[in-house]
């Protein structure tokens, strides 16, 4: 690839791509309207002919929209990558799109009048999200990986808020989807006319910025010594990129991955200099989106199903990202929540473990008996009420225990303090398995749901490990695979929900991690499963102690690597699946609990496993109790609340000074 990279991209590719697009367009048009009418369409559309009307007011604007949006996102991606010198920066990975979408959703629900200036609203949301990402990553020198990680955390957090909105305002659900799913369908030229002047303005600005931007290919000191004001240039470049993203989001919603994929493909095809990439990425982005959209139109046909193209691009983009990861050259950089030497160490672990167990029991008892009722805060001893609360508390505790344990196992398996079921996409994998089951087998029994969740989690974990092995488990690749899988899951979720199926609502409440529907058998299963797996994992402590040392040392000490890895992976997948079944895929407990255990000074594998399990259970019990009482009589799902708290904790952990 090295020698090829020095060549400018061949025009052959361009021609082939253009031909492909034209071919697809002609084919699509042919489906809309017989050949005989084409001439008439161009010269003078007959507005009483339905076919021509449809083509003129729906098909054609949609085509233009795809080209404009794809191009704009591709361009925004190049700009962000150049400005941040980060091959993974893009509107989706930096949380810009999600921020813009959330701002629009909030406005739709609470202040519809503001929607007049919707692109500025989206700009505000996207800008704020970007600022948040930056504030997080800044203290660590904006290293590429930290930035992407911060972007992931912010996106997950915004996603959680979004789900909360949907739950609190089910009547506004449909409106929210307009901003989230990325449907390109048009019924007049307004969208195109809205987008065109704004993108043209952005394009002008970019043209003016090209020369100084090129210098950013040097490192900071190099560019500065050539007399470029880096801060201003970065700010301006980013602002333009965010603005373009905001415009796209405010007219069609979030379109995943084009902004990441187009520049990356351009690079792989050999576009090396900034000018080449600025030309190629928008073209590729437009072509990608256009072709995807034709595909969507073809497969959706004339059925009433509104298949959002943005979701489909994310669906296609995730495998693409997986394919790209081994081919990307990333600057080194290890995001760590906490440098090694500052960690406290406990001399004796038992007293603190005992204390934590007591604390958990106390919290569970409190959550069971005390709460907000119709008469205000009160103690309840009524068995009628308690029989509702017991399963929830048991379920929450079991799920938290399992997540804490799974996170601890994964961090030790990979030697990576950022590994967790949530960030590695394992929870998402389990959730995909479960969602699939919900649609093919309504009312599937517990064992089937558990089995499908386990299968999803295990497949995800196998993909991740097989990828990571090739790169010696470097934390960045691990997280990237996780990002790709999380994005895939997001796309699947959006697509499922946009099908407008009645099952969607139940999926949604489960996804957000409500313990509301947990019944006693399930809860008991969770506790039993968690405790059993905990007991099974404790004897593995010696492997878990040696594995973080990397590949060669454990091997030379005679650890059977395959068997060790496989058994830990199986346990982690099982734990994640069971926990996901109870509280949904997003909670950050699997990341938080092991981290807190380390901060408390548990550094031996055995103590850390026990401590994270206890902390996880405690966190979930508290989250469940808060969720029941915070907005009484409304209820917030425990998983969602844990995710919100966890996101804030993570942001604090990431942002702390070294």
């Amino acid at each position: 690839m090295n020698s090829a990279a020095l060549q400018p991209p061949s025009r052959l590719w361009l021609a082939a791509l253009l031909l492909l697009c034209i071919g697809a367009a002609l084919f699509s048009l042919h489906q809309q309207m017989p050949l005989a009418q084409w001439g008439a369409l161009i010269w003078q559309p007959e507005l009483n002919n339905l076919d021509q009307l449809l083509v003129y007011y729906s098909w054609l604007p949609r085509l233009c929209m795809a080209v404009l949006c794809g191009g704009a996102l591709g361009l925004a991606g190049v700009l962000m990558q150049q400005v941040l010198r980060n091959p993974l920066a893009s509107p989706t990975t930096l949380g810009v799109a999600n921020g813009a979408q959330l701002a629009l959703a909030l406005a739709t629900l609470y202040a519809p009048t503001l929607l007049v200036a919707r692109e500025w609203l989206a700009l505000l949301g996207g800008g704020l999200a970007t600022l948040l990402v930056f504030a997080l990553a800044r203290r660590r020198g904006l290293s590429p990986l930290t930035l992407i990680l911060a972007g992931l955390v912010v996106s997950l957090l915004l996603g959680a808020v979004n789900v909360m909105l949907m739950l609190l305002q089910p009547q506004g659900l449909a409106a929210l989807f307009i901003w989230s799913a990325g449907s390109l369908s048009q019924n007049n030229w307004d969208g195109v006319l809205f987008l065109l002047p704004r993108l043209a303005a952005a394009l002008l600005l970019i043209g003016w910025l090209v020369r100084p931007l090129r210098l950013l290919e040097l490192d900071d000191s190099g560019a500065r010594s050539l007399g470029v004001s880096l801060a201003k240039l970065r700010l301006l470049g980013l602002a333009v990129a965010v603005f373009m993203t905001a415009c796209v989001v405010s007219s069609v919603g979030v379109i995943g991955f084009i902004g990441l994929a187009a520049p990356a493909i351009a690079r792989l095809l050999g576009a090396r200099t900034l000018q080449q990439r600025l030309l190629w990425a928008p073209l590729l982005g437009a072509a990608l989106l256009l072709l995807t959209d034709f595909g969507v139109q073809y497969f959706a046909g004339n059925s009433s199903v509104l298949l959002p193209t943005g979701g489909v691009t994310a669906l296609l983009g995730a495998p693409l990202l997986l394919w790209l990861i081994p081919r990307l050259r990333l600057p080194a950089g290890r995001p760590q929540l906490q440098p090694a030497t500052q960690l406290p160490r406990l001399q004796r672990e038992q007293p603190l473990l005992l204390l934590m167990a007591l604390l958990l029991l106390g919290a569970a008892a409190l959550a069971l008996l005390f709460g907000l009722g119709p008469q205000g805060w009160s103690w309840v001893l009524d068995p009628q009420v308690l029989q509702w609360r017991i399963p929830r508390i048991l379920g929450a505790a079991g799920a938290g225990l399992m997540l804490g344990l799974a996170g601890s196992l994964l961090q030790r398996l990979t030697g990576n303090p950022m590994a967790s079921p949530e960030l590695m996409g394992i929870s998402a994998g389990a959730a995909m398995g479960l969602m699939l089951l919900l649609f093919i087998w309504i009312g599937a029994p517990l064992w089937a749901r558990l089995g499908m969740g386990f299968l999803g989690a295990l497949i995800t974990l196998l993909i991740i490990i097989s990828f990571a092995r090739r790169h010696a488990y470097s934390p960045d690749r691990l997280l990237l695979v996780g990002i790709a899988i999380a994005a895939l899951f997001d796309a699947v979720k959006m697509l499922v929900l946009s099908l407008n199926d009645p099952r969607g609502q139940s999926v949604l409440s489960w996804l957000s991690g409500s313990t509301y529907f947990v019944e006693l058998p399930t809860a008991l299963m969770a506790i039993a499963c968690g405790v059993a797996l905990l007991l099974l994992c404790l004897p593995l402590a010696r492997w878990l102690t040696l594995l973080p040392l990397g590949e060669s040392t454990p091997r030379s000490l005679g650890v059977p690597m395959r068997a060790a890895r496989l058994s830990i992976m199986l346990a982690a997948a099982m734990l994640t699946a069971a926990a996901t079944l109870l509280v949904g895929p997003l909670s950050f407990v699997g990341l938080m609990a092991p981290h807190m255990a380390r901060m408390l000074g548990f550094h031996h594998a055995r103590g850390q496993l026990l401590a994270s399990a206890l902390i996880g259970a405690l966190l979930m019990v508290i989250a469940d109790w808060l969720g029941r009482n915070i907005l009484f009589p409304d209820q917030l799902p425990a998983g969602l609340l844990a995710a919100l708290v966890g996101g804030v904790y993570l942001i604090w952990g990431l942002g702390r000074r070294r």
Binding site: P539, P548, S552, L557, G558
Partner: protein, 256 residues
Amino acid sequence: MFQLESVTFAVPERTLLQPLNLTLPPGEMIGLIGHNGSGKSTLIKLLARQQTATAGSILLDERPLHAWGEREFARQVAYLPQQLPAAESLTVRELVAFGRYPWHGLLGRFSVDDEQEVARAMELTDVTRFADNLVDTLSGGERQRVWLAMLLAQHTRYLLLDEPTSALDIAHQVEVLALVHRLSRELDLGVIVVLHDINMAARYCDHLVALHSGQLLMQGSPSELMNDACLEAIYGLPMTVIPHPDQQSSIAVARA
């Protein structure tokens, strides 16, 4: 004794080790030398079972490497990788105790014997006074000695060391190699060590094996290899060997 019979190692693009026949006797300190990319690191990784040969067979005590059980092999051969892993929040004693894994296994008790072996290993490498310090807070030379102690706690017959001195200054290089040399004598250990510095190799090793482009170029005692012609063949650079001012040995300097 390690016996290699037409051992090859290849990755998709190229062959890193051509068919190699070699016998490495026990109880000696053997230095692997050669230019960058000559295959010396590959060879030591094959011996340590960190990688599997593409073709050919490696025998340890007349038994193929793959026929040894994981822990059984780890009780015979200890290996120190070139890049030491980060030992996050581990004390020296804890790290050295890892060397006992091949003996007690996953579930076995950490016995008095194990404890004594750990103490002995720390004694031999003179790290007992750091026993309760964190490994990551030690200096490079101290850390290298701690890892050596872990290898000694493994109580093997062979030590395989991949460039144990590459990150150390000259004083610590001498310190570590002298220690390894002494241990080899006192404990009758077979040591196979990859070394960059020909003078260090000549001074501390009993036997040198020179590789070039993945092939065995020559082998012999340091005095046999320390001459202008041999060194030029090994490193592809004109070298001059001059007598050491104070010692019996000789030293090589680059002429170019």
